[in-house]
């Protein structure tokens, strides 16, 4: 996995974050996040984590629960304990047996680039 340019941020179990979490480096979420998550680095969501947020990351490994849309520019790994309610856009996807995804899945490098471009146009 590619490393982000900044230092690592860890939100441990028992901590609740509300708002927009933007990081330059890698992110580890074991607690609760409500809002949005965006990082240029890699994202790891632990099995006890609860994330109600739209997510954008370079690569991601998910073991916990996500309620929101996910854009991963590289590889997204959904572990067997993971549960995703929302749309997934990623270049490469690996899903473990038992992982739940309730939403649309779009794959391929062109799709993630297109998604990023569309969002930039929307933002402007």
């Amino acid at each position: 996995m590619a490393k982000g340019t900044g230092p690592e941020t860890i939100i441990a179990f028992g901590v609740r974050l509300e708002g927009d979490l933007v990081a330059e480096g890698d992110l580890v979420i074991e607690g609760e996040v409500h809002g949005t998550i965006k990082t240029k680095g890699d994202l790891r969501i632990g099995d006890q984590a609860l994330v109600e947020a739209n997510i954008e990351a370079a690569n991601a490994v998910v073991s916990g629960e996500i309620r929101g849309n996910i854009i991963v520019h590289g590889k997204l790994e959904l572990f067997p304990s993971s549960k995703v309610t929302g749309d997934v856009v990623t270049d490469i996807l690996a899903i473990g047996p038992g992982a739940q995804v309730n939403g649309n899945i779009s794959m391929g490098a062109e799709v993630t680039k297109g998604k990023k471009r569309t969002e930039s146009v929307d933002a402007s």
């Binding site: 690592e8 860890i10 028992g14």
Partner: protein, 240 residues
Amino acid sequence: MYDEALQDRRFERELAQIETRLTDLGIAGKIARLALFREPIELIRDEIRGGVTTVVAVGNDMTLRRVIDAVQDRKTVVALLPVGPQGAMTSLLGMPSGVAACDVLSARIVEELDVGEVNGKRFIQSAHIEGTDFTVHYGKQYTMKPMRKASLEVRNFAAPDDAGTQSPVDGRLSLIIRLPKFSLFGSKTDISIVPFEEIFVTCEKTITAKVDGDSLQGKDFSFRVIPKALRLVTGKARKF
């Protein structure tokens, strides 16, 4: 700047050796002694106004801290010459204890270190708030709150431990939240780490924070990093 504890006779010989070695190395200067009721701030600032470019704290972490409180500019070089019982700064800065530190002083490897600030009070190492309910505000971006009583540490410079390493030259501080967790299989601590430049912490009630060993009372605490605020002499064995 000699610490008041060095007036004890057991340090006489070591101080004499240090002064001799400094003379041999061609390092000359004015000696001032700290005393219980003598604040060094005005004394040091007067000397800096008079042209002093380097202030050497002879003693330990607390001596260095008192000197740093007085040196607020970014030109004056500060050094620690460790004598007597030491805290963490000696090894972090790579300064040997006693006479050996004179040679490190002479080599004059000067690093520009970040300094932390909480409610206007500066710190080099860290500030602690123990076991309380608090909320962290990261600008208008987000708030963060532990779901039960936790300890909070804002760290600039520390030896590697369970919260990893923090560099005093990266232009950031680290917010560390420790939440103890007890189970049948023992206890462990969940650690959150968030790098930042500026945060605001609000507590449920007035508490006492420890800022590099000094007490600071308050309910709201505003933390920020002052990048490259301090020019410090370090040894080759420094931990950053």
